[in-house]
């Protein structure tokens, strides 16, 4: 119950933001919501099940392109977003069947290669996808501020939905099974968990919301091209956020998303040319000194105020 309450309070507070903030703050908030969706999603496969998936960018790009193509063929925007989510879900279910028997490095590589391959495929199908030149999306008939608010609320709703799903999954049989798999896959198998089905479910969950996020993002920025939406950094950032916030927790990924975005903004403003290196430095420091996340650090200091349920 506490998780639901926390979610409701946070969502209400963030939803009130347009009343106080300017467009810059709104843009940041929209990005935080998007990051939060990606981090929460990666948490299903990477945090719960412990599989280091690099496929987030594949789902994101796939969603963005699916929605763009659907809209350019006359499908209205919101159904196109749903179509994008469905495309990502089906793709993940299919892909999961092929690569989830791999473990460790091999799984990581296979999922990384999928991103590269989708990008190359989009690049080489110019008639269908616009190829390397990218593709434009229909413009919304709204004021600049109206658009900003619309996409903010869309992304916020998606983030809330993703967190809500996390809360449900965390308590469900599926979430329980995924955590068993993460801690000891062979023991999970032996107590009756159909590990293959569970992993595929977790992998699909890690795709569906990211696909929709990609679709909303595409509508938001109006134009997408392969290097933008199939960027490997889209795969890596969620991992960093989850590492920051705590693997397998409910709100950790979103908290990590906020922290990472604030860090990014600070770096963007002050060191534009080396912001990627700065991200690299954050990762290195994080991995070497805080492998259990910033929150773990705080929790260690005050063990009574433990998070979780």
């Amino acid at each position: 119950m506490r998780s639901w309450l926390a979610l409701a309070v946070i969502a209400a507070l963030v939803a009130a933001l347009p009343l106080a903030g300017n467009n810059y703050a709104l843009r940041l908030a929209t990005t935080v919501c998007m990051y939060s969706v990606m981090a929460q999603s990666w948490n299903f496969i990477g945090g719960f099940a412990g599989y280091p998936s690099f496929a987030t960018a594949a789902f994101f790009g796939l969603g963005a392109y699916a929605s763009a193509i659907l809209q350019n063929h006359g499908v209205p925007m919101v159904p196109a977003w749903a179509g994008a989510g469905l495309a990502a879900l089906l793709f993940a279910a299919f892909l999961g069947g092929a690569i989830l028997h791999l473990r460790g490095h091999y799984f990581a590589i296979a999922s990384l290669i999928v991103v590269e391959m989708l990008r190359e495929i989009v690049n080489t199908l110019p008639d269908f996808t616009g190829g390397g030149k990218g593709v434009n999306l229909p413009l919304l008939k709204l004021s600049v501020t109206g658009q900003a608010q619309f996409f903010f609320y869309a992304m916020l709703a998606l983030a809330v939905l993703t967190v809500a799903t996390t809360i449900v999954i965390h308590r469900s049989k599926l979430g329980f099974g995924l955590r068993c798999i993460q801690q000891n896959e062979s023991a999970a198998d032996i107590i009756g968990i159909n590990t293959y089905a569970y992993k595929t479910a977790g992998f699909s969950l890690s795709a569906v919301f990211v696909g929709v996020a990609g679709a909303i993002y595409a509508s938001w920025v109006n134009y997408i091209d392969p290097p933008d939406v199939f960027d490997v950094l889209i795969s890596v950032k969620p991992m960093v956020m989850v590492l920051l916030g705590g693997l397998g927790t409910i709100f950790g990924p979103s908290i990590g998303a906020v922290i990472l975005l604030l860090l990014e903004e600070a770096v963007w403003r002050n060191f534009l040319t080396i912001h990627v290196a700065a991200l690299g430095a954050i990762i290195v420091v994080l991995v070497l000194f805080l492998p259990n996340g910033l929150l773990a650090l705080i929790r260690e200091r005050s063990p009574t105020k433990a998070m979780a349920k």
Binding site: S172, K173, C180, A187, I190, I191, G192, I193, N194
Partner: protein, 250 residues
């Protein structure tokens, strides 16, 4: 008596090595069978074959009328075949009660996590771990982790329970406690296979012994008969020792 588990010519090779070589035997309903043999004789591999961790390279395993030879482990588990591991394998960062609940939940005896936790607490009571329920499994002592393995397996409501060295590394008092629990489990009608190197324990609880050596079944029968068997002594102490001790029969 009907055979609950039947092994028929089961073999397993790893490369050129025959880890289990043409092993056949039955386990009857409500029986306690001791599976013994010296270090490296293939006992754990045999358990892995029965539970589907490794597929058998030849032969058949039947359990309660089902051919489980090439079934996935989770399906075999759901049929009512549970095991513990020699090196205990808890879910280390979950609490004790969650570990046990996992057993209840995924073998289909609980419809949701909450019900599974309730069932788990009963089993913790039974194994004397109730006080530890909410601690992370990794913080338990070895003896308690072994009991946690037992509780987890029991929560699966097995018809056949295979215990792989549940007493290894325990002190005499802990062993006595563990043996008492095994007896209680057997009283509930669960069929049990114990792998055990402590001969005193095996002799005191088993109805029947099966002896493996170099992957082959070299003897089976009542405990008294088996431990006096020349081939068994040879397997444990070497041929010369067996030859030099005429007190040994057969």
């Amino acid at each position: 008596m009907t055979a609950l588990l039947t092994l028929d010519g089961v073999s397993r090779r790893f490369g050129g090595l025959k880890a289990v070589d043409d092993v056949s035997f039955d386990v009857n309903e409500s029986e306690i069978v001791g599976l013994i043999g010296p270090n490296g004789s293939g006992k754990t591999t045999l358990i892995n074959l029965i539970t589907g961790v490794h597929p058998a390279t030849a032969g058949h395993v039947h359990f309660d009328g089902h051919d489980i030879t090439r079934q996935r482990p989770y399906r075999i588990a759901r049929l009512g075949l549970a095991r513990t591991f020699q090196i205990v394998q808890p879910f280390p960062r979950m609490t004790v009660v969650e570990n046990v609940a996992a057993g209840a939940l995924f073998c289909g005896h609980a419809s949701d996590v909450r019900e599974a936790q309730a069932i788990a607490r009963e089993h913790l009571e039974f194994t004397g771990l109730a006080d530890m329920a909410d601690r992370p499994a990794a913080t338990l002592t070895l003896a308690r982790r072994k009991r946690l393995e037992l509780a987890k397996s029991l929560a699966m409501r097995p018809r056949l329970l295979m215990l792989d060295e549940v007493n290894a590394g325990l002190n005499p008092t802990e062993i006595e406690e563990a043996v008492a629990i095994i007896r209680k489990i057997a009283e509930q009608g669960v069929t049990i296979i114990v792998i055990e190197h402590l001969m005193k324990v095996v002799l005191s609880i088993s109805h029947r012994l099966v002896v493996l050596h170099h992957g082959q079944l070299i003897a089976q029968g009542t405990p008294r008969k088996v431990v006096a068997d020349k081939r068994v002594i040879e397997a444990y102490l070497g041929a010369k020792y067996a030859a030099g001790n005429p007190g040994v029969s057969n």
